[in-house]
Amino acid sequence: MGYIFAKPNIICEGHEGVYNDSGVSKVNELIFLILFPFLAALLLLIIPRDKIRRAVGYIAALIILGASVYLLYGNFSSTVQYFGLSSDLVNRAMLITEGLIAIYIAYMSLKFRKYYPLVLIVLQSTVLVYFEFSRPTEAILNNLFLDKLSLVMALIIGVIGSLICIYSFGYMKDFHVHHKDAKDRRGVFFFVMYAFLGAMFGLVFSNNVLWLYFFWELTTICSFILIGYTKTDEAVNNAFRALTLNLLGSLAFILAIFYLGTMGSPTLALDKILLMDKAIVLLPVVLIAFAGMTKSAQLPFSSWLVGAMVAPTPVSALLHSSTMVKAGVYIMVRFAPLLYGSLPGLMLSLVGGFTFLIASGIAISQSNAKKVLAYSTIATLGLIVACAGVGTYEAVWAAMLLIIFHALAKCLMFLSVGTAEHKIGSRDIEDMEGLATRMPGVGVMMLIGMAGMFLAPFGMLISKWAAIRAFIDVNPVLFGLVAFGSAMTIFFWAKWMGKIIAVTRANGIANGRMNRDELAVLVVLTILTIGACLSFPLISHYFAEPFVLEVYGMAAQLGQDNITIMLLMFAAVLLLPFSMLYFRKKGKQLPAYMGARPSTPDLHFSGTAGVEKELSLNNYYLENMFGETRLMKTGVMISVVLVVMMFLFAWLNYAGVLA
């Protein structure tokens, strides 16, 4: 199918007019990755029988996974490549689809009487239509491209995304057993899940900003449908909040496109924009960064991602790890070279820094596991945004590592919380007491996921290390924000870990067998998380460094000694559990000390007058200091000021006051 578009005017390796056979097959790989998920999605929509649907879904997911790995295999050492497609037909199809989406959004907003999205979509469509009719006809030769960043993003989408899809078949079956009130619309559910992957592939491969915008819109609408899946009042409200905030971003995006397409020397090609004079394109870049902020849930727009947790857990995993929010940071990392050294870039990085600080703080006061995960995602995204805003080669390198490691660890966390939730009937951290003994498999995988999020020598910590090294040279305030934020992350992760490893003897083993497929996905993710940490120098060497080198002509590194020490530490951490073989039998066991009262191993003690009492232990949540409402209010105030200043500086730059 893609071949039809692909054959004429192929341009490879940046050499115009060079017709190259391998180029044709490569562009077909890209087109396959974009279109195949949509095809699979349609199939899943129309197949009514659960068993067949599952079989088709598994095969499709494995094909997507295989195709993205194959893409890596074929482009392991290649530099950036551009692919031209004759795009008239595609452009028209996209425009029609955008029209349909606008109508759908308008219909839904009227149906549920939510008028903000309606206003936004009308404004947005007006700008788009006006632009389509007024712009000078510029033929973009290279609509698609592939470089190291898109390759890494494609791997994240293809591998993690399809694993989540596989997981979701078993999970959704359970979900409807647990949620009898929710109407079973699994056909639609899987349709949107797979379409989401296709949209994400399109987003990271597009060199045409108009195409990028199209796929951007698709991710917005997909997340809207997925968040509102259960159609409860809460789900509908949260879905509309997500829609409103994301449409606000899209409006900024289309304004940026309008600017880019109508300015002095108009262009909509990403590669050309990146080469343009900073002074000219700073305003549209800031608009696009604003769109990225809404999508990656930065303050003051964080509320939609927290609300999105009403959706079934695979949706959260998808939104948080491999799609949606990663689209936001992807676009910012893309434009980071233009933000480098500019005042709007400084403001953006401060928004990211404050988001990291505030979201980490709020996570302390939450006992709902999914909410903790949501705030931790927002925090990490803040760190990535800060890197993008700083825009030096070191910062971008750190951002790329953060994207990779966060995707893996966070996906593992969400999916294991989802599985545990179905078994213990709660997503409250306090109810996960002793999970490591009650559900050893899931408990241990959860611990690995958490260690992966905040402890040395796991990936996230290495990336954070890289980030703060980048910050201290450029902006010490950012360093300070991250220093305080990091301290908070230690607190909320460690106390959660503590709950899980508490050895309890009363609660018994959780009943019910684990779904085999869910378990398989979790095990694969665990292996990937550990594997990625072990191969961290390779990931840096083959992906992050070449990308930074391509863009900046300079590469960042952690230094050979440090890498060696990191790996030695990692080996030590991996070997440590084996010492359990020795310690397992050691020591005489006695009940815990309870003020010298006679007590039992399951925390019962004899109180006065022979009454036996039970003791329960609950974590600190420090509500007075880290309460959600209070911190959120502070965060929103600070970030609104920063965002306003970001636009102000961009405007002054545009007006020529700040040269």
């Binding site: 910590l461 010490p476 300070g480 305080f484 106390k495 503590g498 490893i501 440590l576 232990l617």
Partner: protein, 286 residues
């Protein structure tokens, strides 16, 4: 990097740390008008602990404490070998988390609250120590301990705010009053032995050895301010430790919120202002 110094630390730190704590106990006793134990008492204590029966509430406890001791020693090894300062700080955090997890795994009321408080203390400590690393980097242009120690600049003059801040939070690491929330050496307290409550025998002995390692490491942190003059450095270390003993015996324990807020305030003011001034001076071209 020089691994010899690191190995010297691995062997020598427990000796020095034990003696420092022995002297500490003697001075503390004198301040309280007691005679006090012999200076070698910490060693006698630990030797005796290792002869005791290993009693646990949950068996994984031993494992976590083992990891704690191992990583605390490793942290010091990294620091004294002249490695990356940030990396050493991260390793220290990892070690601490293992201790906390050990206390959690026992699922006992006293050790549980001790663990929570230990985490609060870590949260209070972390920003300042990271700012310390940032300050060292801004002043010397390197995160490597070997380069920082070798500089001829009087770092203390460039980093007075950082020094004061570090002095403030060192109290947390030395488990001294008023910041000894999670476990204390003083006998009278409401939490029994807090985070240590359920550890006994050889396990407790291991924790004590880790404490010796940690004490020497903290003094190493102080040393870096005075790397230009080793003699002055030793004097500063002695004074620092005396100051800590003095504080320990004059202040009652703070509430957790005061510990957290005051530590953060110190880091955000003294630490950050120092960093900003340095940054403006070295990077901002003032």
């Amino acid at each position: 990097m020089n691994l010899l110094y690191g190995l010297a630390y691995l062997i020598g730190a427990p000796l020095i740390g034990g003696i420092v704590i022995g002297i500490d106990r003697k001075i503390t006793a004198r301040m309280q008008s007691r005679v006090g134990p012999p200076i070698l008492q910490p060693f006698y204590d630990v030797l005796k602990l290792f002869e005791k029966e290993n009693i646990v509430v949950a068996r994984p406890q031993n494992f976590f404490v083992f990891a704690y001791v191992a990583f605390m020693a490793l942290t010091g090894l990294m620091f004294f070998s002249g490695g990356d300062l940030l990396l050493a700080i991260f390793a220290m955090t990892l070690a601490e988390v293992f201790l906390v997890l050990g206390a959690y795994s026992a699922n006992s009321p006293y050790s549980f609250i001790g663990a929570e408080r230990e985490l609060i203390q870590m949260m209070a400590f972390e920003p300042m120590i990271l700012l310390y690393a940032a300050g060292m980097y801004l002043a010397t242009g390197s995160f490597l301990v070997s380069s920082i120690a070798a500089t001829s600049m009087p770092l203390i003059l460039l980093l007075p705010g950082i020094f004061a801040g570090l002095l403030y939070v060192t109290t947390i690491k030395l488990r001294k009053s008023p910041f000894d929330l999670s476990a204390t050496q003083h006998t009278h307290q409401e939490l029994v032995q807090g985070v240590m409550t359920e550890f006994s025998g050889p396990t407790l002995g291991g924790i004590e050895i880790a404490r010796w390692y940690e004490t020497v490491l903290m003094l190493g942190f102080v040393y870096l301010f005075f790397g230009f003059s080793p003699l002055l450095a030793i004097a500063a270390i002695v004074l620092t430790y005396m100051f800590q003993i003095f504080m320990d015996n004059t202040y009652p324990r703070f509430k957790w919120s005061l510990v957290l807020k005051s530590s953060w305030l110190v880091a955000a003011t003294l630490g950050m202002i120092n960093i900003l001034v340095l940054w403006l001076y070295f990077k901002g071209g003032l």
